[in-house]
């Protein structure tokens, strides 16, 4: 599985060359690898359906429990098939949709790298590698959403998606690491066995909240839903891919993956069902307000993600069964609809509902595909979407019963049922908006003269919508290959599920009828519904997107404020802040932890050499403080340095002493060079009583803290075994009698490598400061303003 992921990454690197060489067939050629992988993964279906799992472990940083381990069970296989399968269609589609775009080669690089990252997310078993892939999807989707980087709107949306999802990812990382520590393993498959321990652990709630924040941001759950519709600024193939099979489903995937580990508790059920139901309702209401077809679809994705979240939360047999069905249903119809809308846009030049109509005869193939997908979206029999909706009602209504987790909560169940009823009815309205308005109805003049799209543009919608129909009709195959394995992954054990199209006159069927009736009624009255909703929205004046702008603006002004305060441009202020901060941090820590200890020190027993050196340091320091010229001050400090070198020499550290001597020498040389270029000291040094007192207080406090630390340190027993270890090993293993040097270049050479890196950086930094600065006048680069945005609702 690692080779599959690395294979796509490698393929992504080759992609620009391939696409550059053959602009016409680029998409078709590049689809070969994803297609091959789809077939390869499909080969696992029988084994997984029989209840097997495949695990693959490649040690990465074994000392830290970080492995590139991968896990294939029903859930991850289904996701892998969606990622690769829909990915194949998308790559072909991209070749047609973005044909002639000069940046197309780069686009293929992005989308294939994204595909590989997403595959990594769904296959990863190790928590750390999961986080790595997770953040990689955020970064690659940032590149995809911001593909049209000339447009400020695009850039803003990309940045918004990146910030929301990657900040969520960071929060989630804390949760996952905590999970790993509490559970005693960083492998998700092993953590599932620790579920009882985890659920009763005092950290359970913290783990749950941290992880859910990450999954909610990724899967655009309320209140993080606002980034997803904005991500529509990406080219349509990206939207189709992100919405149907990948990015936004990553959060849902992880919740599903963790449901046997963390799920089933009351807080889990209430949170997921509550947020899921609310999100789905919100998404559906926002969707019917839109007139841009892509935005309509974007908001219905939010609805679907909410419904999936809710199903994971319920966690009953029906719910996990529904999850499997609905996941596939949504991937099929959403992918098809997005690509279909893209084709419409590509051929007619518009996506506005009002400007489209009567395309059926002009674009028959696209119309057929979109029609099938829309019927699945609307939840009509015998499509996959119908099965999803039926079983969804079964699971929400089933919450009134008792038995598995998520049952025996009738109130929540009925609320969820009502939310689903309304949102499904609104989904039917949006399906009508996407299919009936553009294709049926009277012919409308479009900006471009419409005709049938090329094969590359209709292949994806046709394949996906036919799959949606076929799986609904041949539900036996669906049940055996997908529903049973996925449900088992979610429940954490084998579960008995049974899919059927006709289950008799049941409550769910009744609810379906009500849904369709309500949906049709709402569709007929759509203009009026939209007007009412618009009026409500205006009255509420609430909009997460503008809230986001306000947060970002606040963040920038705080950054500005603290930059103004701390970065004054005066070196003396920087030194002062550094010293004050160090003093307070160390001093406060010592006070809080009562860390100060007083060793046995007798000044009278000190040898006379120590007295001489100490008095010299005091005299030299005093001279530096009262010095009226820089040269005197520097020379006095030089004396301090030399005395310190003598102390090293006296107590048997000749290496350190020589280094100190050399450094003092070089400091004198460098300071001499600097001094010649500085204005006279008196020009700045106006002795001001207040600043003198302030500096004295800071200096004395710093000195006191350092002294306290020194005293506490020498009070500690010196671990002699370490020096003994080095002393005995330095000749036998490092072939050197100078222990210090052997430690530097052999035992702890990595430290030294880091240190010379710092030395090199310091040298280059000085060079950059002195040589590479602008020659004349103050820097004129304007500070970045947050980008203003237009055209949002």
């Amino acid at each position: 599985m690692l080779s599959a992921i690395l294979g796509i990454f490698a393929w992504a690197l080759v992609a620009p060359i391939v696409a550059g060489r053959s602009p016409k067939l680029g998409g078709w050629i590049l689809a070969i690898v994803p297609a091959a992988l789809t077939v390869w993964f499909a080969g696992f279906l029988p084994e997984i359906a029989a209840g097997g799992v495949v695990r693959e472990v490649v040690p990465w940083i074994p000392g830290l429990d970080v492995n590139l381990s991968f896990y294939l069970d029903g859930l991850s296989l289904t996701f892998a098939l969606m990622v690769c399968g829909i990915g194949t269609l998308i790559v072909i589609y991209c070749g047609g949709y973005l044909h002639g775009d000069p940046m197309l080669p780069r686009f293929f690089l992005y989308i294939l790298a994204f595909m590989a990252s997403m595959l990594g997310v769904v296959l990863a078993d190790n928590v750390i590698s999961l986080i790595v892939f997770w953040e990689l999807t955020s970064v690659t989707s940032f590149l995809l959403i911001g593909y049209l980087h000339d447009s400020p709107k695009s850039r803003r949306s990309a940045l918004q998606a990146l910030l929301v999802t990657s900040l969520g990812g960071l929060v989630m990382m804390a949760g996952l690491i905590l999970l790993g520590i509490v559970g005693g393993s960083f492998e998700l498959s092993e953590l599932a066995g620790q579920s009882d321990l985890l659920r009763e652990h005092p950290f359970y709630l913290a783990i749950l909240i941290l992880i859910l924040v990450g999954t909610f941001t990724k899967s655009a759950q309320f209140p993080f839903h606002f980034w997803l519709p904005n991500a529509m600024d990406a080219p349509t193939p990206v939207s189709a891919y992100l919405h149907s099979a990948t990015m936004v489903k990553a959060g849902v995937y992880l919740m599903a993956r963790l449901s046997p580990t963390l799920g089933g508790t009351e807080v889990w059920i209430y949170t997921l069902v509550g947020f899921g139901a609310f999100t789905s309702l919100l998404g559906a209401i926002l969707a019917v307000r839109q007139t841009d077809l892509k935005r309509v679809l974007a908001y219905t994705t939010i609805t679907a993600l909410g419904q999936l979240t809710m199903l994971i939360g319920i966690g009953s047999v029906y719910a996990v069964e529904t999850f499997a069905v609905y996941l596939l249903a949504h991937a099929c119809y959403k992918g098809a609809l997005f690509m279909g809308v893209g084709a419409i846009d590509h051929e007619t030049g518009t996506r506005e509902v009002g400007q489209l109509g009567g395309l059926l005869r002009l674009m028959p193939v696209t119309a057929a595909a979109v029609g099938l997908a829309a019927m699945s979206n609307a939840g009509l029999p015998p499509f996959l979407g119908f099965l999803g909706k039926e079983f969804m009602y079964s699971s929400t209504v089933g919450m009134a019963g008792s038995g598995m987790a998520g049952e025996g909560m009738p109130v929540l169940g009925w609320i969820a049922t009502l939310a689903m009823l309304v949102s499904n009815a609104l989904m039917l309205v949006t399906a009508g908006l996407v299919f009936v308005k553009p294709f049926l109805g009277p012919k409308v003049e479009t900006p471009k003269h419409a005709h049938e799209a090329p094969v590359s543009l209709w292949l994806g919608p046709v394949v996906l919508s036919v799959t949606g129909l076929a799986l609904g009709v041949f539900y036996g195959v669906l049940e055996r290959l997908f529903v049973v394995p996925v449900a088992a992954s979610l429940a954490g054990e084998a579960v008995e599920v049974h899919i059927y199209l006709w289950g008799g006159f049941t409550t769910p069927l009744g609810l379906s009828v009500v849904t369709v009736a309500l949906g049709v009624a709402l569709y007929v009255g759509w203009p009026r519904v939209k007007a009412v909703l618009d009026r409500i929205a205006r009255a509420l004046r609430y909009d997460s997107d503008s809230g986001w702008d306000r947060i970002l603006k606040g963040l920038v002004s705080v950054a500005w404020w603290q930059t103004r305060v701390i970065q004054s441009g005066y070196l003396r202020h920087y030194v002062m802040f550094t010293i004050v901060f160090t003093t307070v941090a160390i001093g406060a820590t010592m006070v809080i932890h009562r860390a100060f200890t007083m060793p046995y020190v007798s000044v009278l027993e000190a040898p006379y050499t120590a007295w001489v050196l100490a008095l010299t340091v005091i005299a030299a320091t005093s001279a530096a403080v009262v010095a009226k010229s820089r040269l005197v001050a520097i020379l006095s400090l030089g004396v301090v340095g030399v005395v310190i070198a003598l102390i090293f020499l006296l107590y048997g550290a000749p290496d350190v002493a020589i280094t100190q001597f050399m450094v003092e020498t070089l400091v004198v040389i460098i300071v001499a060079l600097v001094l010649a270029r500085l204005p006279r000291l008196t020009a700045f040094h106006r002795p001001n009583r207040r600043s003198a007192v302030r500096d004295a207080v800071i200096s004395i406090a710093f000195g006191a803290v350092v002294t306290a630390v020194m005293l506490s340190v020498i009070d500690l027993p010196i671990p002699l075994d370490l020096s003994e270890y080095f002393a005995t090993r330095s000749y036998t293993e490092g072939f050197g009698r100078n222990v210090v040097n052997v430690i530097l270049v052999d035992f702890r050479a990595v430290d030294t490598l880091g240190e010379i890196l710092v030395v090199a950086a310091a040298g280059l930094g000085a060079f950059a400061l002195l040589k590479a600065r602008p020659r004349r006048g103050p820097p004129e680069t304007p500070l970045p303003e947050t980008e203003r945005t237009g055209g949002r609702q």
């Binding site: 000749p654 290496d655 040389i669 270029r677 052997v742 270049v745 050479a749 010379i756 060079f767 040589k771």
Partner: protein, 139 residues
């Protein structure tokens, strides 16, 4: 630059002596006090002295390389010493040794020496980058 005949004459002698001494310090560092860091500081002081006596342009001529190149060369040496251990399959920076002789007459040479030379060069390069930048800055 200081226009002093005594300094210039002395520097001519001192430069070679100090450089020789810095090599000595570098090479003996493994067994006696010394090593790449100290050796590098001594060599850097020697070059700095030269630049005070004859000016930065003359120093550049003596060096033959830009100090930044010396920094890069040093980093390269240190990293090469670390990667060397990959050939026998050891961890990064594990010392690789060649031995001659027995007992007190034994002579060992290994990648830690290359690493120390890297440290030596980085220190020289970094210090001289600072010194030359300061000296060449137009006031």
């Amino acid at each position: 630059m200081m226009d002093s005949l005594i300094l210039r004459t002395a520097t001519r002698l001192l430069l070679s002596l100090m450089l020789l001494f810095s090599f000595f310090i570098l090479l003996r560092g493994h067994n006696e006090p010394g090593g790449g860091f100290i050796g590098g500081l001594i060599a850097a002081s020697a070059f700095a002295l030269h630049s005070i006596a004859y000016g930065p342009a003359a120093l550049r001529q003596v060096l033959g390389f830009d100090p930044k190149t010396i920094v890069g060369g040093g980093m390269l040496c240190a990293i090469a010493a670390g990667l060397w251990s990959a050939f026998p399959g050891d961890a990064f920076l594990t010392g690789q040794w060649l031995h001659w002789g027995e007992g007190d007459a034994a002579f060992h040479v290994g990648t830690p020496l290359l690493f120390d030379i890297g440290v030596f060069l980085v220190v020289i390069g970094a210090v001289l980058t600072i010194v030359l930048s300061l000296e060449e800055e137009d006031v």
